[in-house]
Symmetry: C2
Subunit: 239 residues, 2 copies
């Protein structure tokens, strides 16, 4: 660790490993309460998930493994262990590691991404404030395990056509479009100069986040986001 005063969510303790980590994981469901329970357990927790519930747990475990160990480090066995299931149950559903990862990734990204793309802003909101909102949401997303998973896949997508495509379609494009829509809206409202409607804008914003959050692992505070927005983004686009 060390190196810099990062306020990362966590990472780091690879050793602590299985000290129960179904913490956030969001999405899936709960059922929660202790794991295992194979034996001795008297608590009435179902120890064997089935069907869709199991599938979600596997996808979820897959993304978590991806975030933690990367694509190269991810093994079907590790996913199975984390999802508390067996390899056979995974192979029953996905023919290869590649398809499991791809499916887990896309099914995970389609949720939050759609929220952003379809979002509408009421007329009292300035472009500046709407952008701030967007920046904040994107940064929150990238700070989560999904962000680490994304980062792990960047290198891999260099070599895998399918990954590249899914990456762009499911993640980048919707976000880019959300920013472009906001710019368009700003132009209509007279807050943004017409020439600012340019792919470069979402790319710079996205790039900044990739750099800061994914590579440097810093969490930008809301005031920091405002500072960036007011200091550098708005001056570059406003009319």
């Amino acid at each position: 660790m060390t190196s810099a005063p990062l306020n990362i969510a966590d990472t780091s303790d690879n050793t602590a490993a299985n000290a129960h980590r179904d913490d956030d994981q969001s999405a899936s469901e709960l059922t929660s309460s202790g794991q295992e329970g194979a034996t001795a357990g008297e608590e009435g927790v179902r120890s064997r998930k089935r069907g869709a519930e199991l599938e979600d747990a596997i996808r979820c475990a897959c993304v978590a493994e991806l975030a933690e160990s990367g694509y190269g480090g991810l093994t079907i066995e590790s996913v199975a262990a984390r999802a508390q299931t067996g390899k056979a149950s995974i192979y029953r559903r996905w023919p290869t590691k590649q398809e499991l990862v791809l499916d887990s990734l896309t099914s995970m990204m389609s949720g939050p991404v759609m929220r952003l793309a379809d979002r509408t802003y009421d007329d009292t909101m300035t472009t500046r404030d709407a952008l701030l909102e967007l920046l904040f949401e994107v940064s929150e997303f990238m700070l989560g395990p999904e962000g680490d998973a994304m980062r792990s896949m960047m290198g891999e997508s260099l070599r895998d056509e399918t990954f590249t495509l899914s990456f762009r379609c499911d993640f980048f494009d919707p976000r880019k479009q959300a920013v472009l829509d906001l710019l368009q809206r700003g132009i209509r409202r007279g807050e943004v100069r017409t020439t600012a409607l340019d792919d470069v804008v979402p790319e710079m914003i996205g790039g900044l986040f990739i750099h800061r959050i994914l590579l440097l692992r810093q969490r930008p505070s809301r005031p920091e986001l405002e500072r960036i927005l007011d200091g550098f983004i708005m001056p570059a686009i406003q009319s």
Copy 2:
């Protein structure tokens, strides 16, 4: 394979016998003693490199493999094959795959990076033009095999302390500093507003490149760089 016009040393022909090449590799050059006639071969090419020459060839092959196959896909055997040597010769020098990669990467990055960081600009050059020059050089670097190698390492550096550090120190920081120096110079010259001296600026520029070049694999033309610079970067920083 395929994908883009990289100018990597070579690769590909693992099958073909040893049609030896010691093409560029510089430095070497025949060491007098013109007498070859070593074996039956009529081509008088030295077939066995030694010492520093061999070491360079190995590092070079390592980076090329990294760019092509990623860290996970890189094997000592593949590096050896590309460098036309044996595994033993590699293990004689580097104890593990990790150290080989790290050493190859840093020794490769320290060259071009230093050029940027130490660069000075004569007084007739505007900040805008100097930035354009810098942008151009960085983009050229990232478009080469070194860029792909970098991208391949991004995911890995998430899990490896040493990689992260080397990455930041050897690559990011010098570039960031080069931009900051340019901003400082611009402030002195009255071309840049004082509040623009901010980490965000190099981060946005770097992020844009990561996004465009590494992720999207597009080559920004010089006019395109000028458009970006004049349209969005300068407006954000000028006084």
